[in-house]
């Protein structure tokens, strides 16, 4: 009878252990793509660091909207993180290498803007919860205010308590300084008026670019400083520019950049980047400290998941983009 006692007890304990297993069963998930950041100890040196091969590639579909709804593509995404830094590596096809950004060209008589704009990639995270962002993604911020026609939509949140963190890598303006412009998103400046301002706000610090034009907007104001060797060939940095004093030195066909990148600093320079255009596509690495200590930045905790969205822009200076559905960033622990 003691044996019977032991048998029953043993069987019940086995059942108990089996019953505990389902406690760790996932409880459901929307049909969303998850980008898992792999924990590493050493920082990746660059775009070709072998450590990237250890992380899983997620193919994220991107799709145009409105009049461009037939446009589609894929952004191959990898993510890594160290004790204090988060890294993303993006690769997407782009048949045209666009960094012109409306450069000036001289025809012998007048200055004109060249056709062509720039390629870009933008990421949006939540600093404070943005209503429905987790389920609808950028649509809730790009299509704002919803009661206005599409051409009047601005990038903004609906209430001041909602805050987004915007990382904006631009091939012509931020790439020369190896960063992605760090901004934040809030409610539009004048939401009740007839003209709705954008909700985009710059993080504190310097950066961005200077429009290279005279006050009347008819010709460039700056040219490359002849005493300085350009640090980034093909680009004219504002810090390396000199004001034009004599326009007679230019010959027909001369080209001068229209947007001059400014040296970034402060919180605006939180997101560092490296990039390369090759084989008909862009490869861009962006990385940022998990916690910058700035209120205008999302703080990443490896214990939690983050909703975010990506948009890529092909030779575009406006909202002509291809965007993802909402994505989830999770940290492998």
């Amino acid at each position: 009878m003691d044996k019977l006692n032991t048998k029953w007890s043993f069987a019940l304990w086995i059942l108990l252990v089996i019953a505990l297993v389902p406690m760790f069963t996932p409880q459901g998930r929307a049909d969303r793509l998850v980008i898992t950041a792999l924990r590493i100890s050493a920082t990746p040196i660059g775009l070709d660091d072998p450590v990237w091969q250890r992380s899983r590639t997620t193919s994220i579909p991107v799709k145009g909207r409105g009049a461009f709804s037939d446009e589609a593509g894929v952004v191959e995404t990898r993510a890594l993180y160290t004790a204090d830094e988060l890294y993303f590596l993006f690769r997407w096809d782009d048949p045209t290498h666009s960094t012109t950004k409306q450069s000036w060209v001289y025809d012998g008589k007048k200055w004109h803007h060249q056709p062509g704009n720039e390629d870009r990639i933008a990421l949006l995270f939540e600093i404070a919860r943005i209503d429905h962002f987790a389920t609808r993604g950028c649509a809730v911020t790009c299509h704002s205010p919803a009661d206005l026609p599409r051409e009047q939509w601005r990038l903004a949140t609906h209430t001041a308590s909602e805050k987004g963190d915007l990382w904006h890598w631009t091939a012509a303006r931020s790439a020369p300084y190896n960063y992605a412009d760090d901004a934040w998103l809030t409610v539009a400046g004048n939401p009740s008026g007839s003209y709705r301002e954008t909700g985009r706000r710059k993080d504190w610090g310097e950066g961005g670019d200077v429009r290279n034009q005279t006050p009347d907007g008819t010709r460039p104001l700056y040219m490359p400083n002849p005493r300085i060797v350009p640090s980034v060939p093909g680009f004219l940095l504002f810090e390396e520019a000199a004001e034009i004093t004599d326009y007679s030195i230019f010959s027909p066909g001369d080209v001068i950049p229209f947007r001059l990148p400014r040296k970034p600093s402060g919180s605006r320079f939180d997101v560092k980047a490296q990039s390369r255009y090759a084989e008909g596509g862009w490869t861009v690495m962006v990385h940022r400290r998990l916690d910058t200590g700035n209120e205008d930045d999302v703080m990443f905790l490896p214990t939690r998941n983050y909703s975010f969205a990506i948009a890529v822009f092909d030779d575009s200076g406006d909202d002509h983009s291809k965007a993802t559905l909402p994505l989830t960033l999770e940290f492998e622990r």
Binding site: N5, L16, T303
Partner: protein, 368 residues
């Protein structure tokens, strides 16, 4: 003018004061009363600690729940933000939220285990029928805690799981719709529903649970432990409730807290995306304890739906409650209760098979 009389104390008055002081401040009487209580020696047997762990988990759930209530705001939207703040910003918030999360899972598993062990031991039979019935009532109360608690974070999983549960309840003929309206305060799951679920979760259900626990312990104390499976009597030698049993329970409590805290440290509790009632793409997955019921709902459809939603679960509950009166076996040992054991084993097998079917249906496929 006459001077005031000096205050003097006599030996008698001092002794009387000391005696009163001892009675009122030193709490000698309650301690002495506790020390006089004896319980069966089996209360400290190595294989009799599940009930103690269950009590530890209930206390843990009450304490962690009280902490979470300090930060919680029962308003849609704000509810999610408050839970998010608790989880990721409040000091030790993640640990306490995790303790609350894992403790109820463990409570349910151990309560089922406790019930199974009691069943195998035949401890539901006379004179312990009411001990068993109060235990079944406690087990029946736990899903109500889970149902009301799931909605509180106002995340996608909680919101959509509630929708599924409400639709199942609403499908019950006659009383279904009314029950949903009473629970939710209307047809939709909104601020009224959240407030009602919150009040039920932190006030009514805990009071009911405390009452049922008191009843359960009363009958345990009155009728003692059941005989062991080998037929020997449980109470071979009585032991003092205080401090021996109390100390043992405190050790169990500390061990339980430590294990769950470790669990939550390495596997933080989940918090999904904020609830979006307009997002129909979210498909909630049933939790492990409800998989077999979910399969019943999936099997019986149309006019037969009532079988899965009300009849079979109702009969199962009736069987558990009525078991002490249905079982006419000659003795308590399993070998003497073959019919009941076979019926219960069949029922358990069906529930396990249904649960496995549900598991493979919802979780069996690899993640895309």
């Amino acid at each position: 003018m006459k001077p005031p009389e000096p205050i003097t104390t006599t030996k008698d008055s001092r002794q009387r004061f000391r005696s009163d002081e001892t009675k009122t401040l030193a709490l000698n009487d309650p301690v002495a009363w506790l020390k006089r209580i004896t319980v069966a020696g089996d209360a400290c047997a190595w294989n009799r600690f599940v009930g103690g762990v269950l009590l530890a988990l209930v206390v843990l759930l009450f304490l962690s729940g009280a902490f979470l209530a300090f930060y919680y705001s029962p308003v849609p939207g704000a509810a999610y933000d408050s839970v998010d703040f608790t989880l990721f910003s409040a000091p030790f918030g993640s640990i306490l939220k995790g303790v609350h999360h894992y403790a109820w899972n463990l409570l349910l598993v151990l309560a089922i285990f406790h019930l199974a062990r009691t069943f195998v031991a035949g401890a539901y039979r006379k004179p312990r029928q009411l001990t068993w019935i109060s235990g079944v009532a406690i087990l029946g109360l736990l899903p109500l805690f889970i149902i009301t608690g799931d909605l509180l974070p106002w995340d996608q999983r909680g919101y959509w799981s509630t929708q599924v549960r409400m639709s199942i309840i609403a499908s019950i003929p006659f009383a279904g719709d009314m029950a949903v309206r009473i629970l939710q305060g209307g047809a939709l799951t909104g601020i009224v529903a959240l407030t009602r679920f919150y009040v039920l979760h932190i006030l009514f259900l805990p009071c009911l649970l405390a009452l049922l626990l008191a009843v359960h312990f009363y009958f345990v104390a009155r009728h003692g432990f059941a005989e062991r499976l080998n037929g020997k009597q449980a109470a071979d030698h009585p032991i003092a409730f205080f401090p021996r049993v109390v100390n043992r329970w405190l050790v169990l409590f500390i061990v339980t807290v430590s294990l769950i805290a470790l669990l939550t440290y390495y596997w933080p509790p989940p918090l999904g995306d904020p609830a979006d009632p307009t997002d129909s793409t979210y498909v909630p997955k049933p939790e492990w304890w409800v998989l077999f019921l979910n399969q019943l709902v999936a099997i019986f459809k149309g006019k037969w739906a009532i079988l899965g939603t009300a009849v079979i679960p109702g009969l199962l509950t009736l069987f558990l409650v009525g078991l002490p009166y249905l079982d006419r076996s000659p003795g308590n040992r399993p070998a003497q209760r073959k019919t009941v054991i076979v019926v219960a084993a069949l029922l358990a097998a069906v529930m396990i098979v249904l649960s496995l079917m549900g598991y493979f249906e919802h979780f069996g496929l690899p993640r895309q």
